[in-house]
């Protein structure tokens, strides 16, 4: 497919353009490319560091309290602990978020909903498990309704133990995640 199929340009320019390259690839390929292609191209150059720097500093999290730890998440996102300082702002819809904070127990009934929320989040995305419940079932380890293998479903980058962890621990966990993103050691990021 040439550019002139999409945008009305003189045929001569179209032919000219097809000879151009960027990072060793034909421009036309790059022009009509998929997100995946863009990712590949970005990965080739030092620009990925800039991308990661940007991502690390704008990790919006999903306000999604689902347990006692959720109340601490409220406080973490509000003025007293002020996660905004680290570019971590609470959002109400999964479509605007980068980080899923798993803030409590996942029950049989909630797992499909939770998975759904996770899948609605745009890539790249990260997951933080907060509290004993999200990590391993916590005090409810023998309940008939709590699932314990959360790590099988979600690529959890940071585990924050505690019941509930203090908001300061939330901040520490967030900074760990940022460090991981920066060093490209996170499970879910691309670059």
């Amino acid at each position: 497919m040439g550019i002139s199929d999409v945008i009305p340009v003189p045929v001569a320019i179209d032919e000219e353009l097809e000879k151009w390259t960027i990072f060793g690839q034909p421009v036309a390929d790059v022009w009509f490319t998929t997100t995946e292609k863009i990712h590949q191209i970005i990965e080739m150059g030092p620009i990925k560091n800039i991308f990661n720097w940007g991502r690390k500093n704008s990790v919006y999290f999903l306000m999604q309290p689902m347990g006692c730890c959720g109340v601490e998440m409220f406080v973490f996102g509000a003025a007293p602990y002020d996660s905004d300082r680290f570019g971590c702002i609470p959002r109400n819809t999964p479509r605007q978020t980068d980080v899923m904070i798993m803030s409590g127990y996942i029950t049989r009934k909630y797992l499909p909903v939770f998975k759904n929320l996770w899948e609605q989040m745009p890539e790249p995305k990260w997951c933080i498990a907060i509290g004993e419940c999200a990590i391993s079932g916590g005090p409810f380890y023998d309940s008939y309704n709590i699932i314990q293998n959360t790590a099988d479903y979600f690529p959890i980058d940071v585990f924050i133990p505690g019941c509930p962890p203090r908001p300061e621990q939330f901040l520490e966990g967030l900074m760990q995640l940022q460090e991981k993103i920066k060093q490209r050691k996170d499970k879910r990021g691309y670059y």
Partner: protein
């Protein structure tokens, strides 16, 4: 004033032979076993003749040794007298079935559905026995029965798997393991009923109606629940609730923990009001043990519980303001900043921010720190000035007025009938507060008012909450003035085993009347703990309250109830 023994004699004369093993525990508690055939009539008599107009819940108990199931109906009155009647109905264990009380009390619906799904007790004449808290795959397992197989060995370490469905989606469920199938945990036959989705879709009558989902994920409610509304244009025609998204089975787990370990689970029931839950459980156990709480410990308990009420109301109001203001987080930030001051006060006493486990059987864990009174002298006036500021702000704001006044009005009569609890009930003008009705600790010596509203609209509910904070501050100030020195724990060691017995204890949770019904069989673990949560009662009233309102008011009404779904789900 009516007392328990008067109620009993009146019942015995009206229903000769139907009342067995009566026990008058005190002026305010009556225990009796009622003939299953007469339970409906007995309750009707209590309601019509003896002012028992508050159906406070019911509890299922599995007496496996006697091969019997029991349902305990908890009946009280909205302020006419302080008697709580605990009426037990027994039914054989194979094929258990008793009469439903839904014809008498509107709010019996959820309590009976819960007992049905947990114990498998059938309720005759109940119009819709659908699961409430459990997911479909657990139906028919009857998890709260004592012979629920596989608990706790097989339920520990449950692993969910993803299974593709026929229509291309993926399902996540916990499949039965071979061990479970062998142990017989998986029921061979399951009850049949239409699913939640089918039930709500059956209500769609015309093309102009549609269903809107609110939830299960809410940004500003501390826990998930699903509120579906059937809308026709701008109006809500019907509301549907699906709860149980964070049902943890606390009542079952507590049966498998020692008495002391149980305290930590009460923390996690409603984590915004953990101290009241601690108090409720410990109070019930103290009643069975016959423990006296030293006076200093009583004062300390009152102080921390009132502090806990302040922080709970602050977070509740903040959530509500965020819900109605949409994008603006400003009021929320202010309330959370103020709440942090209270939290740090509580933390200086209990050592924890949310999950305190501070109240112990017969006392408290530790004494107040030395500088506590001074800290209070700084913090409390500050909170007071802030609350006055908020009240003034809301009174002046014309937009708040438009949005809140005459929205979600709940008249006093209806409020009593539907069994709504706490500030939402008091906003309708019903003066019903456990601190006055069923006084515990040193509350009778303290001077405080029960705050009531007039109309019962959203503005009233918020106003009642804010003024209750001022009242709590007043209570704490009195306590700090009067607190005596002395021990904070009982002198003798609290025994590990609690003698056989039962008790029902009520406290005023920030969300309303919370009751715990604790049964001991003489062992080192509870035989049964039943929690009657206030938000459970309040949540149930949401769908009728939403009928006919504008879509935009739905969040305002639901938010003004100050939700804590975790306590409803337990």
């Amino acid at each position: 004033m009516t007392t328990a023994s008067e109620v009993l004699s009146s019942l015995q004369s009206a229903f000769p032979g139907a009342i067995k093993d009566p026990r008058v525990e005190s002026d305010a508690r009556l225990w009796a076993t009622v003939d299953p055939k007469r339970i409906y009539d007995v309750c009707k008599y209590l309601t019509d003749k003896l002012n028992f107009d508050h159906y406070s819940g019911s509890a299922g108990v599995d007496w496996i040794a006697n091969n019997e199931m029991e349902v305990v109906e908890i009946m009280a009155s909205h302020g006419a007298h302080p008697v709580v009647a605990m009426l037990k109905v027994r039914t054989p264990r194979d094929n258990p079935s008793i009469k439903s009380l839904t014809g008498l009390y509107w709010n019996a619906d959820w309590y009976e559905r819960e007992i049905w799904e947990m114990f498998g007790i059938n309720f005759e004449n109940h119009s819709g026995l659908y699961p409430l808290l459990l997911s479909d795959e657990l139906m028919g397992v009857w998890p709260w029965r004592k012979d629920f197989k596989g608990y706790p060995d097989l339920t520990t370490g449950q692993r969910a798997v993803a299974l593709p469905t026929a229509n291309g989606y993926t399902e996540f469920r916990i499949p039965p393991t071979p061990a479970e199938i062998e142990a017989g945990t998986v029921p061979k036959e399951r009850p049949k009923y239409p699913s939640f989705r089918e039930r709500e879709e059956a209500e769609i009558k015309s093309d102009s109606e549609m269903i809107m989902h609110l939830g299960p994920q809410h940004a500003m409610v501390p826990g998930p629940f699903l509120l579906d509304i059937l809308v026709e244009g701008e109006r809500v025609r019907k509301g549907f609730l699906d709860v149980g998204y964070i049902h943890k089975g606390i009542e079952k787990i507590m049966e498998n923990r020692t008495w002391l370990q149980g305290i930590t689970y009460t923390d996690r029931m409603c984590y915004v009001a953990s101290l009241s839950n601690n108090e409720c459980y410990c109070g019930a156990v103290e009643k069975i043990l016959g423990l006296e709480v030293p006076e200093r410990a009583q004062y300390i308990r009152v102080i921390v519980e009132e502090l806990s009420r302040i922080q709970s109301h602050l977070i509740g109001t903040g959530e509500f303001l965020t819900l109605i203001a949409g994008v603006g987080y400003a009021p929320w930030q202010y309330m959370i900043i103020d709440r942090e001051h209270v939290i740090s006060l509580i933390e200086s006493v209990t050592g924890a921010r949310l999950t305190h486990s501070f109240v112990r059987f017969g006392g408290v864990r530790n004494d107040l720190p030395d500088d506590f009174a001074e800290k209070c002298k700084i913090t409390l006036p500050y909170i007071k000035s802030r609350i006055n500021e908020f009240i003034e702000l809301f009174a002046q704001d014309p937009i708040y007025d438009l949005r809140m006044k005459d929205v979600g009005v709940l008249p006093a009569e209806t409020a009593k009938e539907v069994g709504i609890a706490g500030p939402a009930l008091r906003a309708s003008g019903v003066s019903y507060d456990m601190r006055v009705e069923d006084p515990i600790l040193v509350y009778p010596d303290l001077d405080f008012k029960v705050i009531t509203g007039t109309k019962g609209d959203c503005a009233d509910r918020i106003d009642v909450r804010l003024r209750e904070i001022l009242e709590s501050i007043y209570i704490i100030e009195q306590c700090l003035d009067r607190i005596p020195s002395g021990p904070i724990k009982p002198e003798a060691k609290v025994p590990k085993k609690v003698p056989a017995g039962e008790a029902y204890y009520r406290v005023e949770d920030p969300r309303g009347e919370m009751g715990m019904y604790v049964i001991s069989d003489g062992g080192d673990k509870p035989y049964r703990v039943k929690v009657r949560g206030p938000f459970y009662a309040t949540l149930q009233t949401l769908p009728p309250l939403l009928e006919g309102v504008y879509v935009a008011d739905v969040v305002a009404i639901a938010g003004s109830m100050d939700g804590c779904p975790s306590e409803a789900d337990r």
